[in-house]
Symmetry: D2
Subunit: 367 residues, 4 copies
């Protein structure tokens, strides 16, 4: 079985494991106060071009989102997010469990716009009795999104400007950040991102590390007592050095972007090959997640040798599925996958159905 259902199917990049071996019997203080964490912080600040940023290391994404959001909002405030945002749909109500509503706005492609943020803010502010509803308190986006799509620099600038104007801290979930920055369609750097938000995080779990997310806090007002919130939410790792060592390794020679690029390259290989064979895609993703629409019969056969994620029914005979690549994806596996799909496609291809599928899809996308 060859796995494409997520981007955390393997362990860690070999250089990370190597480093863990080398440092294993070093004695360090706990909870992220060690020299490896300190060095990783310096490297990340450099990558961000932000000497004053606070950098904290946590273990996983849900924990990170919860910790950041709970640290920012007052009790009556909620967080604006896309209806498809990870915090809205895939964290078992972790945000609500800290007392806050996720204020969702519609999104066909996983992104939200500055205009939507402004509209949500204004709609609340203009209510006759605003205190009867949840006050927007911050803005959450993912870069890239849960659908593999990506914000342009201009879009981020607009979102940050609007958020600032509304007094809403702007938080960017970068669980797959490298896969955006390494995309050839990307017009921004990590330093650009760091200038265009109040707080973001750099995903390690999905990009080379055993586990780990690096939170970068840019806005001074959000820095205070952050370690307390990490501890309370269960995210202060005893052997914090494990996270420090991993981010040190990822950030000392450009490894983070290098391995991200690999994942995107092989993802586009899948995309381009399938597209050449007439396959349509649910979202237009330039990153490591691809969402082709394929015949259900084909998918049934394919699932005997490959794992992937069912996404949604598109019409009576076709579904969109998700293939993820990662830093660890073997080119030969991608080769095999595309070859097998193409071969299955050629067996049961029916151009009429394709046209139909696309029509249905376009209708759906407009909703």
């Amino acid at each position: 079985m060859i796995r494409f259902e997520c981007d955390y199917n393997e362990g860690a990049h070999e250089r990370i494991l190597q480093r863990l071996m080398e440092t294993n019997m070093e004695q360090t203080s706990g909870y992220g106060t060690d020299d490896h964490c300190e060095r990783a912080r310096v490297l990340i600040r450099q990558a961000c071009g932000q000497e004053e940023a606070d950098v904290h290391f946590l273990v996983g994404g849900t924990q990170t989102n919860t910790t950041v959001i709970a640290s920012i909002l007052r009790p009556h405030q909620g967080v604006i997010a896309a209806v498809s945002g990870h915090i809205a749909v895939h964290e078992t109500g972790a945000i609500e469990a800290t007392g806050h509503k996720v204020l969702t706005v519609p999104s066909p492609d996983g992104k939200i716009t500055a205009a939507q943020v402004k509209a949500a803010y204004d709609a609340h502010a203009q209510e006759l009795s605003p205190e009867h509803s949840v006050q927007p308190g911050m803005v959450y986006i993912s870069q890239p999104t849960e659908y593999g799509t990506m914000y342009s620099k201009a879009e981020l600038e607009a979102l940050y400007a609007v958020s600032k104007a509304c007094g809403l801290p702007f938080f960017v979930d970068g669980a797959r950040l490298g896969y955006a920055l390494a995309s050839k369609d990307c017009d921004m750097t990590m330093a650009d991102l760091a200038r265009l938000c109040d707080v973001f995080y750099i995903g390690g779990t999905k990009i080379g590390a055993l586990m780990g997310e690096a939170i970068v806090i840019l806005n001074d007002a959000l820095k205070r007592d952050f370690r307390y919130i990490i501890k309370q939410k269960g995210g202060l790792l005893a052997k914090g050095r494990l996270l420090g060592i991993q981010f040190e390794t990822l950030f000392e020679d450009g490894l983070y972007l290098e391995i991200s690029r690999h994942a995107v390259d092989v993802a586009l290989k899948i995309h381009d090959t399938l597209k050449q064979h007439g396959v349509q895609f649910l979202y237009d993703s330039p990153t490591n997640q691809q969402f082709p629409i394929l015949p259900d019969s084909l998918l049934a056969q394919l699932s005997q040798d490959y794992t992937f994620t069912f996404w949604e029914k598109v019409d009576h005979s076709r579904s969109a599925v998700r293939f993820c690549t990662s830093w660890a994806t073997r080119p030969e596996n991608v080769e095999a996958l595309t070859r097998d799909i193409v071969s299955l496609l050629q067996k049961d291809k029916d151009p009429a159905e394709f046209t139909e599928a696309v029509a249905v899809l376009e209708t759906a996308a407009m909703v």
Copy 2:
């Protein structure tokens, strides 16, 4: 600098690292659904003699305590714990953050008694208007305790019997469980413990693993939907296999107890050597934490070469401190530590002060 301030100063046992290397490029499904986790569950069930137990792997102790407790209590209930319990003092209000009060009972040695649980339960039940105060909803203890002390089998039997009689789930925090089970004073096995509580966990972070705690749920009523709570509280590790692999290694050849025994042996080496030289101890600990009372002047000097934890002032010139050993503690470091303490002691020993310290201490212990 030689470190004795905690039991998580190093990485992981070499066999664990080895295994992580070997399995690194295996592809597995996420979130603990892989074969390594499954095999680790089987091994732990065997060690517990409980085929029907549910076993879940989490990353750290605060997260584990919060997840277990939040999964059990209804909103108006609190958890009974020693005033020195980890959940009461060292988790930044993580339990309260899930809405629950920690109902502390006094404890001179870190332990609580069946009589205390009964008294707390009865006191509440007999209130004229019990609904005006928090209802005891479960019982929490640590084995060994935060003071290195240990419950005997008889004490656990009594606690479990009382808890059952009161309808209170009984939860044992085993962040350092191996260091109790490996103590030569210990009269119980892991299987005994598993028969004497509703849920407990086996600490890996402090005993050989990079990180990881294995929750063992014995009581069927507590099993339902537990993975939801793990996910919501941020504890569902994406690469769950990392925890599976580590517990597999710790439990396949008795490694867990073997390395625990080492830690206890060297801890007792410290204890016995200092005792021979007349040093008194704050608590009578047969496990990996030792709390000698030493002259402040000595401690000042000692801290130039060693790290340890200041615990409390005992009199005007002496303090209790904590030395932790672990699976990773090097015998030569223990040798050096005891030699240096003894040599410093001999320099400034003053029998009169010792007597005084002991008197003060005994008074304090009686409070």
Copy 3:
């Protein structure tokens, strides 16, 4: 200024005030343990035909919803509600503040269907990894709804049957319950309702009382320790007798339904009069809230003498607004209101615009 913007513009029914005067210097025990509360419970159980029901008195609606919902759900569960449900939009995130997500389903008319509940339940149960999203844990509806619409007995039977089949407690918010039961379109009694749900409440604040809501718990599994939750959520009134006395009065001679009927009668007077003059309505409400669509110019003028609630823009020149009547609405005020609207309508009536408005409205309602 004549007020129609809500149904709590006045104090209490005179018989209630009278009774408060008469009983004022009686000495009673606190927190709802007095004889008045006890008698009110008996009367309510009789009205419900449920001798075993638990009855509790709280002060207001948000408090009541929060208390009931928090008492039922486990941490990882959410409550299914219409997107327009009071708990979803008008309680400042009170449900989220207790840790739970409101799982909204679309609703054009304020009601949800048994099929929607089934679909939400199944969709969750069929997820590949359901533990990554919030588990539906109960169902909430309002009778009548926030849009004045009403469930038929058959609809409630279907909802209750589905809820039971899915293991979801079914909760009916009756903040305006009398205004449904007193509607001439209503095909059910309070006893019917009591057979068709697990818990509901009878609104007093909007129907004759100074304040107060009576929770009726039918399902034994939901009764345990309910007073603790009331106290914790701030709803246990010290002078509980005030609520007892009011519900005693409302339920001893059929006063509750009698005054509810008055409100509905005058609401229908508004509805029928406007309809006769060609006015369209946003929702088809047979209860005390009416939502006519009127020209903005008319509304501007009308607002000089009357208060009402702006609801939504319907087209470029018309808006839907809400008029509420209540037990206290004076017939002469309704007379004046309808007369003034009709007279303003005749001044600027333009049949073409009406047609347009209706077209837009119908489109909107289909979404």
Copy 4:
């Protein structure tokens, strides 16, 4: 049965009921935006000598404490309170339910000292890893306390000064405030109190009103969005005018202090009479709660005609109990109570036992 077990046994002062009757059919806007609330705010600001204070009306004490505290603290912070504070023991964990720990400090008499606040603050600040424990975030006291004792102006000045120095908002629970201000031992006015804290509330429930507490926010930093928190916590009364009308009445002619004085006068009558007959008291209370120590046999007999609250066993044959008076206490009932106690005392008086009881009590008080 004559009731002395609490200070909310009756309805409301007759002038309040009168006013509710007179205003009953006035139409007002909801949620405290009406003219009565506005006028009550003006009167309270005048009584406080604070033109800029924000004044909000809530229904009950637990609700008020929860709302104020939840509005102030960040997630990792707790509230310092006496171990006997209402929020610590009698609110079913309402504070914990909003995520916050109550950080209790010992108190023999219900009061805490500036030195204790400083010590708690310093102890936390000086921890090696303060982020592992709850950060003190504010200070809570009751004036008068749950034991009837009272802070002097000098004590409040010291508490406020220390709180300010530590950056801790200082909150005074005045559920029985009138009974302190009306005490002849009181050296302060409401205006003094308003100068010496960040936020306090004026209890109405226990002093003349049907229900109601008036929160006075002095510190500008605590004013923002307070109505949102009230609404979320279930405390925004629909017919807010009911609270406005009551506080208007209580504050327009000095009624609040006048009726408070009556309660204190009759309480002291109890105190002085019993003292003359050799009765000892558990606390030295100059307010409306009195805690005499009486023979258990006497109490058993007394309880056939009077209600009062058992407080604690003092020795094998005597207990402390609480008698509360209020604005509504009838002098003839106090007359009867004291006469009956004295007569019972004379029957079974035994000077030897008294002496013993006092000895035991004094020992207990020293702990």
